[in-house]
Symmetry: C2
Subunit: 309 residues, 2 copies
Amino acid sequence: MYTIGIDIGGTNTDIGLITPEGKCLETKNLKTSNYTCAELFIDDIASAILQLMDHYEVSELQGIGVGAPCGNFYEGTMSSAFNLPFGTEVPIKAMLEARLPYKVAVDNDANAAAYGEMTYGGAKQYSNFIMLTIGTGLGSGIVIDRKLLYGYEGVAGELGHTTIIPSGRQCSCGREGCLETYVSIRGIRMTFAEIAERENKHQDKGEISLREISNLANDGDPIALETYDYTANMLAIAMANAQCFSSPEAFFLMGGAVECGDILLEPLKKYFEKHKLFIFKKEVPILKSFLPKNNVALLGAAAISVCEN
Amino acid sequence: MYTIGIDIGGTNTDIGLITPEGKCLETKNLKTSNYTCAELFIDDIASAILQLMDHYEVSELQGIGVGAPCGNFYEGTMSSAFNLPFGTEVPIKAMLEARLPYKVAVDNDANAAAYGEMTYGGAKQYSNFIMLTIGTGLGSGIVIDRKLLYGYEGVAGELGHTTIIPSGRQCSCGREGCLETYVSIRGIRMTFAEIAERENKHQDKGEISLREISNLANDGDPIALETYDYTANMLAIAMANAQCFSSPEAFFLMGGAVECGDILLEPLKKYFEKHKLFIFKKEVPILKSFLPKNNVALLGAAAISVCEN
């Protein structure tokens, strides 16, 4: 059966009609930032869904999945969703279900990515895996026995905010030395700046982008290479720690920071083998997401409604 | 129904008959170190079980649980069990089931402790909790939805070997900066020695025991107090990290390092509140094990056979 995936961001909201095989037939777009009233926003989402169904002559849906910043699976809400213009909490599941006769499931972006990989991507055959989304921040979705791990408060799987260096870099969450302060686009740029300052080089460049750093690394620049080496080592320690916790069969990576060829992935694999605890004997592949980049978020959102949890 | 708990250590093996309420009626003891042949060892365990059943006129058992160093739940073996005189792997489940008509379940000490707490102790009402056993080393058992977490390789839940300080203290496992190099009896003694050396004090005492350190702390000795403060901070960071992973309802602590009053527990609770990620709103109690100290291991072992997993 067909599903609907909804990807809500601060600027844009995409609504896609997804085939059972995981193909996105068409996407409708709303400007999230244009709405100040959640009721009108949800009205327009419901209209878009009906238009898509009508156009493709789809008479029924398996479900509707919503990926949103701070989406809460248990509550069906977008809670404390900074950058969204609707106040502190939007009961989006209840609001959509009041308008349409289909089951709605909500979750955050990283869990959605894990659902997407499990349903339509490279994790179809894995019962236990960890998805790491490494972009501006670092998100994670932890799958155990084909189920997302939610825990007591429904918000488990926040590996980006585990301390990797006590009293390390200040994180926006309030903790210090969080993994995402080192392993994220922001973290990589900060590492580059620190090494450049230590070596007294590249400081003329000012704010340097991740793309520029990865280009420098590909050209053999020692500062850029050391930056990726350091980042890979930090991530490998965190992944070896995660393995001690839940012993996954595989890790999947996606997001802006892993899209620069093998500059990150190669040292990451080397360091993971170095750091992994000796009791783990089997090979644990570290893979890039198999999902098509342009529809990752929509496929992930749609998959939330497909999976049982 | 009654169960049998078997606690296998390098020196002693205890076999206890346990009531459904979790009372140990009687314990038989074997000297593990006297046996060089696993077959004879298991023969004598089986005899001891039959003697206990006979004496208390118990005609049937719910099951037999075995807690052993490096006990493997999936394989039913004691694998690479250093300090045991029987070679590298003993298929203890198969060997006992060949001798007695009851189901046998095997696991390591820390998981057994978690099973014990869930079945007979303070975790009866918790679906999600983490047991930390802090003795010579640091073991852990992670319970999610009333099930022990085993993961892909059956050996998940090794929080003692997660890196808490990259490039920190060398651990016997091969990794560096493992939690148990800081938070364990050995780790606490090493911290005390380091602080004492820095402050140029207490060095006349030579190798100091945990009991002596805790006595000093109770007497207000600043080195001992700083030792506990540092240990509590490290453990609190690790617990806040574990909360980011699986969001437990409670933490349980047991073992030699937590039996010295509130010297560890008080700063631990303070630091946990400091380090916990802001998205976790509910109170997560940090509790000492409710199990009677003299029978912790036997009750834990027995509980393995009671729980479904």
